[in-house]
Amino acid sequence: MTEKTTPLWEVFIRSRTGMAHRHCGSVHAADAEMALQAARDVYTRRGEGLSIWVVPSAEIIASDPSEKGMLFEPTASKIYRHPTFYEIPEDVGNM
């Protein structure tokens, strides 16, 4: 199977109600329906999922690794932006 007939799809699984979908891997598939099927078979075999998203990998817009200094380093020195100066009540649950 070639990339042309079975392109790559990124797979996102939501494991519980209230949680966000999380990226868990990728599959090759001919189309969206087959990608969902493959994602179900490969990534939800042990009861991991309640919902699946698949997205064509080619549609993902990624940041340029060479720009990581500009994009991410400035935040490293700004400790006051981290929400660590107050306590979150237990009842809030998943943030």
Binding site: M1, H28, Q37, R40, D41, V42, R45
Partner: protein, 250 residues
């Protein structure tokens, strides 16, 4: 009635066990990694069904045998599975055709069996129904992709449909065992599933640009223990462990 129930449950168990063995043969050999895992999933669903059914058959029989003894220590002629499930994997299209024919039958079969007056069978059916629904979707989507795919995939898919078609008649056979249990509200009358089965196949094959074969001559014999030539080889592999190390478990 006990004999009939034992035979009936054993047939269902053998169908599931033998199909799981065939599907398991794909493990490490399927055309893609995704499908390798997908077919193994389907195989494991059938292993689960087979275990529940063999355990129940052993209980009904009441002779002290267990699921392992029924699955791994019976000889070829004692197996009661239909011929369809034992057919060799062939190419991927043949495996998909076998899955399509079988799951299109088993989904409505399990749905009906959930209404069985036998509580154990009804409970097994309720679990198997959801599995069969996915098996049918999986086989249908592949049939459509291969049929409505390239010239070669279409040729192979049609050849697979034609090759396995004569093994589908057995699904609808109703001998004394079945009739007796249908009358008691325990079993499903397979004749009542034929129209729905044909409708499912027609819908899938039409979308797949494939042709449903004419009714024609049908193979038979599996329910009486008369199997295909390849069946002995399947059993020798499936039963190796229990025969080499009797009573071993893990």
């Amino acid at each position: 009635m006990t004999d009939a129930l034992f035979t009936y449950v054993l047939r269902l168990a053998d169908d599931a066990a033998i199909l799981s063995q065939r599907l398991g043969e794909w493990c490490g050999h399927a055309p893609t990694l995704e499908e390798d895992i997908g077919l193994a999933n389907v195989a494991l669903d059938h292993v689960g069904q087979a275990r529940a059914l063999y355990s129940y058959a052993a209980e009904v029989e009441g002779k002290g045998r267990d699921e392992d003894q029924l699955c791994f220590l019976r000889v070829e002629r004692a197996f009661r599975n239909c011929l369809l499930v034992e057919q060799p994997n062939g190419d991927f299209a043949q495996t998909i055709a076998r899955q399509l024919f079988f799951s299109a039958f088993m989904l409505p079969f399990w749905e009906k069996l959930t209404g069985s007056s036998d509580a154990t069978l009804a409970a097994i059916a309720a679990k198997a129904e959801k599995e069969a629904a996915y098996h049918l979707r999986h086989a249908s989507e592949w049939t459509i992709r291969l049929g409505d795919g390239t010239a070669e995939s279409q040729r192979r898919m049609q050849e697979a449909i034609d090759l396995l078609w004569p093994y589908t008649g057995e699904l609808f056979e109703a001998d004394d065992t079945v009739s007796q249990l249908v009358a008691a509200g325990i079993a499903v009358d397979p004749q009542g599933l034929r129209a729905g089965w044909l409708a499912t196949l027609s819908r899938v094959l039409e979308e797949a640009t494939l042709t449903l074969p004419a009714q024609g001559w049908m193979q038979t014999g599996g329910r009486d223990g008369r199997h295909s030539e390849s069946f002995g080889h399947l059993l020798s592999e499936m039963q190796y462990m229990q025969r080499a190390y009797p009573g071993r478990n893990w």
